[in-house]
């Protein structure tokens, strides 16, 4: 069962202000850290907790913080990635709406740990209400001496600002986000140098997802061991899952990593919609390979089980599709998404995503040619890992897995 251990506000879903957050022990982790811990000790606790980035790539958070230069003349920046664009993902939206103070506390702890004095929260442009909730919380925090100069009288100076995007999935990619925040087109940058060394305005920058940063207060408050014990050896802690599609009760659930997928489906989501049968599971957002019902039956919700099943945990966006869907139609829908969202900078991705979509359109219109399926797989080969960022590779996930696991459905269209 979902438990809402680290993110209690997502259970009650009330828009609690500062008072309610304080009453529930909010900002205690920050106080404890400022009173008793050195910045390096906060970073060490997060590293020991095994927390992994919740934005999609699952990179160990403590290790990322460790990539900052030890000595630097330049300011260090913290950027919160609240672009939430991966299809199927809607957990950060709930955190922004219902737990803005927890995010702020997490950002303050992180700024303390990494020595940043300015943090930006890059929120996707459509999230007007969510941004308003965060801005309200920032005002409350400023008014209570929790933000600005000499926070809580403990000598910490941090200011946080909301920055709105303007509609572009690619801006969720961390280096595209930095370009966008600098006021440019959101084109990804080549790495290295990594943002931790050369990031925002050319300065060392840490970029973390909303959920990653919001997990920091419970980790610092309860300790790394407590957090680790919630999950599995390789996937410590809990994670938010955004469940959408053909289930009775879609929504955002906090789950201990390692929980069987079927348990989430049956106990939390009330099973398949209308009692129909599961056909396709996309466990980690539109970019990850899809699973058949048989594969889904043995899947556990953690990084290692997803890998064993040939897919990824990604952002925790669980898209559940029943027997009424046509897989080619699903693949076409997602191919349109990637063709539309490719930034156009790298030729393999710009051309490849458009060709994949065009060919799928013709296959679905009954004008497919006999070599089309192999042509699609061939294009995937020419896109994957030949581009600056991971969007191109992401675009191949649904195409490759769809054709390899449901080939007869595609064949039927081509030879109709």
């Amino acid at each position: 069962m979902a438990e809402f251990i680290c993110f209690p506000a997502l259970q009650s879903k009330t828009r609690a202000g500062l008072d309610a957050y304080l009453e529930d022990g909010g900002y205690q982790s920050l106080k404890t850290a400022l009173d008793r811990l050195q910045p390096a000790e906060v970073a060490a606790e997060v590293k020991a907790s095994g927390l992994r980035g919740r934005g999609g790539a699952g990179f160990p958070t403590g290790m990322k913080w460790g990539f900052l230069p030890k000595q630097t003349e330049k300011p260090v920046y913290l950027v919160c990635n609240a672009d939430e664009g991966e299809p199927g993902t809607f957990k950060d939206r709930d955190l922004l709406r219902y737990a803005p103070h927890q995010l702020i506390e997490g950002m303050l702890l992180t700024c303390f740990a990494i020595g940043a004095r300015i943090g930006y929260i890059y929120i996707r442009g459509e999230f007007l209400e969510e941004a308003a909730a965060v801005n309200r919380a920032l005002d409350e925090a400023r008014g209570a001496g929790l933000l600005g100069r000499d926070i809580l009288g403990r000598g910490l100076d941090v200011d946080l600002h909301v920055h709105m995007g303007a509609g572009a999935y690619i801006c969720g990619e961390e280096t595209a986000l930095l370009n966008s925040l600098e006021g440019r087109r959101g084109l990804p940058r080549t790495k290295p140098p990594f943002p931790a060394v050369v990031g925002l305005y050319g300065c060392p920058t840490i970029i973390n997802n909303v959920e990653t940063l919001a997990a920091v207060p419970p980790i610092v408050g309860h300790g790394a061991d407590w957090y680790r014990a919630l999950g599995t050896e390789k996937s410590p802690g809990t994670k938010l899952f955004s469940v959408s599609g053909h289930v009775e009760r879609p929504g955002v659930y906090e789950v201990r990593l390692g929980t069987p997928f079927l348990q989430l489906l049956e106990e939390d989501c009330g099973g398949m919609k209308g009692g129909r049968r599961l056909k396709v599971l996309i466990p980690g957002g539109s970019s990850v390979p899809m699973l058949t019902a048989a594969e889904a039956a043995t899947l556990k919700l953690d990084y290692e089980s997803c890998l064993e099943h040939g897919t990824m945990l990604g952002s925790g966006a669980v898209i559940v599709l029943d027997e009424t869907v046509s897989v080619p139609e699903v693949v076409r829908n997602l191919a349109h998404f990637y063709a539309h969202e490719s930034c156009g900078q790298c030729t393999p991705c710009r051309e490849g995503t458009h060709w994949m979509h065009t060919i799928l359109e013709r296959v679905l219109a009954g004008r497919g040619k006999s070599g089309d399926l192999d042509l699609l797989l061939d294009i995937c080969q020419h896109v994957s890992f030949r581009t600056i960022c991971a969007l191109g590779d992401a675009a191949t996930g649904p195409v490759k897995s769809g054709i390899s696991k449901f080939r007869n459905e595609f064949e039927a269209l081509v030879h109709a």
């Binding site: 939430e84 664009g85 991966e86 299809p87 199927g88 993902t89 809607f90 950060d92 939206r93 996707r124 442009g125 459509e126 999230f127 007007l128 209400e129 600002h161 920055h163 709105m164 995007g165 303007a166 509609g167 572009a168 999935y169 966008s180 925040l181 600098e182 006021g183 440019r184 087109r185 959101g186 305005y201 955004s242 469940v243 959408s244 599609g245 053909h246 879609p250 929504g251 955002v252 539109s286 966006a317 898209i319 599709l321 869907v325 699903v330 829908n333 997602l334 349109h336 998404f337 539309h340 969202e341 930034c343």
Partner: protein, 183 residues
């Protein structure tokens, strides 16, 4: 039509600029500010943002063309953005789109403005509200878990509310610069 930021907007711009070490970062915020008043980003908005931030006009134009939320043509009074991505699609999003295309008399076009300039329809990608699909925005406000009958009521109401507003001088449809655009 000339566009200049008002005194209040200039004060807001000062607050925006104070957040960043480099003024270029204010490009998107200023474009949002202008579009919030005008409804779209006209070439004159580009001029004004470039002037205020002391940036080349081409830089601002380049940014505008990259981001889908910036409208480069005038839109109808109400902008309807419907999510077309997977989770919404399988929960009936395509029926919502079909209904809107018929109601707005768009013919073969997938998006565009109805003949009266009241509604502009656009298809958008995942709005990060997939658990409550189908989802659409009307003038930036989320409407979730929509059905065709529910949407019909909503639009009827908007049309009804609009009726008296179309009187001259009250900022009716004719106030939309350039009139309705199809595209």
């Amino acid at each position: 039509m000339a566009f200049t930021f008002t005194t209040e907007e200039r004060q807001e711009i000062e607050r925006i600029l104070a957040r960043y070490p480099e003024p270029m970062s204010a490009t998107i915020p200023l474009l949002h500010l202008a579009q919030g008043r005008l409804g779209w980003v006209s070439p004159e908005v580009v001029d004004e943002v470039a002037r205020v931030l002391e940036l080349p006009r081409i830089h601002v134009a380049d940014v505008v063309s990259f981001y889908t939320m910036f409208q480069r043509k005038p839109v109808g009074r109400h902008r309807i953005s419907v999510c077309r991505t997977l989770s919404c699609h399988v929960l009936g999003g395509h029926e919502i789109l079909e209904y809107l295309r018929t109601r707005l008399q768009l013919g073969e076009a997938r998006s565009g403005t109805d003949p009266r300039g009241l509604f502009t329809l656009e298809e958008v990608e995942c709005l990060a509200a997939c658990g409550t699909g189908p989802v659409l925005l009307i003038n930036g406000v989320y409407h979730e878990g929509l059905t065709v009958p529910g949407l019909k009521l909503l639009l009827d109401k908007l049309e009804g509310l609009d009726a008296p507003l179309i009187a001259p001088g009250s900022g009716g449809t004719d106030a939309a610069p350039g009139g309705p655009a199809n595209g």
